[in-house]
Amino acid sequence: MNAPIYLDYQATTPVDPRVLEEMLPYFGEIYGNAASRSHAFGWQAEEAVGQGRERIAHLIGASSKEIIFTSGSTEGINLAMKGVAQMYGSKGKHIITSQAEHKAVLDTAKRLEKDGFEVTYLAPDSKGRHSADQVAEAMREDTILVTIMWANNEIGSINPIREIGALCKERGVLFFTDGTQAVGKVPVDVEADNVDLLCLSGHKIYGPKGVGALYVRRRNPRVRLVAQMDGGGHERGMRSGTLNVPAIVGLGKACEVCEADMDTDREHALSLRTRFEEKVFGALDHVHLNGHPDHRLPACSNISFSYVEGESMIMGISNLAVSSGSACTSASLEPSHVLMSMGVGDELAHSSIRFGFGRFTTEEDVDAAAEQVIAAVKRLRELSPLYEMVLEGVDLSKIQWDAH
């Protein structure tokens, strides 16, 4: 068995050694509470938190006063959507979002529907993207919030955030974007991009798990939120709880490294992705790229291998750590909701694998991965009755399948 190769950088990333090094003292000698105003222990912690805030703000073009620390994007999403809905619910009850959002957004939207809000779930186009025009068409007099993710976690497609933001600004509707996959990977500027709220998460950008931030605009307009936890009134009253100083230090450093290394990181990821896709698409027929070929995260390659089921594929490449768009492993047999929303058929959705490359992926990793993928697909197609029928010229869509 070869050493496992990690190709799941959209699920999480390893902590960069530069980040870890900067965090360590905050688990030891520097242990003050950043809210302690009366002694040096507290001041030291507060200073570290302040520096973290500055670095995060700098990466996204915000002011440090606009950064609210959270436990990650799930919390950021809940706080942004519920906080806005509860604060502005008297102005209107309509929210617009996308069918391709992360579950954290979709489930929060469902909760808001139970609480009396109306949610429009826009279907993305076949490449997994939305246009500002599509959002404009869905807008109503009583729309108070638009939530469209910056980049999709399964397929990497990047939405035209600046145009959607401009539309929202013009209509006076708040715009929240889930930036979890985009921040640190592609340029983000909350001013130029017209974003009112944005969440990010440490563990997707080579920082620690369990920490993230929510950007909340303070001017033009000043966004107010109803806090979702009661307590000591930390973070401008929006998120109570003693700050996790080491994690915040790590998040800040991770943002600083991402900003400094953005071009090298992007070129590295792009060259690996191109290398991988050229090999795989060159060696196999009936292979489809899911998502937009160009408006896409540099590190993400979601591929459907027709006539090969995703889970068996994952077994066949068992020392590659990747994710499948088929959820046959879970109690439900539902394929990926993202691929379904784009109109990718069930069969291709069941055959999809997401490969994610990152800062620590090497060319050798990519070559070994491509080789194993190609071998596994060839072997499983030998086993596949569907591939056999296609070779015989049978049109699979004309067959009456007995679905269970």
């Binding site: 090969v308 089921e309 046959c328 492993t329 047999l333 030998e382 596949s384 569907l386 679905a403 269970h404």
Partner: protein
């Protein structure tokens, strides 16, 4: 998800992969499942008298589905048709230690066996020399 050793063994060394001539009179073919559900099994038997002398499969599906159909072909060879009809999905579940979420794979294999036998029988019924 953790697979049992037996599932892994069948997945890595599937038995009786291939196809028989589906138009031949002594061959019965069963195709069950649907691509949109993530599994399709094709199971074929070749019959002499009322004994299954050969069995082949091809499966699009997860590792447990591949293992279930591979195991089914092993069990079919040498059995009489009546005996083969009694193969039950719970035997497959036990033999492969399938977890509850994979029971549908064994059900599919049982359906494929029955479909192949019925296909063979209907061919005989449709054959005027047998009537």
């Amino acid at each position: 998800m953790a697979y049992s050793d037996k599932v892994l063994e069948h997945y890595n060394n599937p038995r009786n992969v291939g196809s028989l001539d589906k138009s031949a009179d002594d061959v019965g073919t069963g195709v069950v499942g649907a691509p949109e559900c993530g599994d399709v099994m094709k199971l074929q038997i070749q019959v002499e008298g009322d004994t299954i002398v050969d069995a082949k499969f091809k499966t699009f599906g997860c590792g447990s589905a591949i293992a279930s159909s591979s195991l089914a072909t092993e069990w079919l060879k040498g059995r009489s048709l009546d005996d083969a009809m009694t193969i039950n999905n719970t035997e497959i579940v036990q033999e492969l230690s399938l977890p509850p979420v994979k029971i549908h794979c064994s059900v599919l294999a049982e359906d494929a066996i029955k479909a192949a036998i019925n296909d063979f029988k209907s061919k005989q019924g449709a054959d005027p020399s047998q009537a």
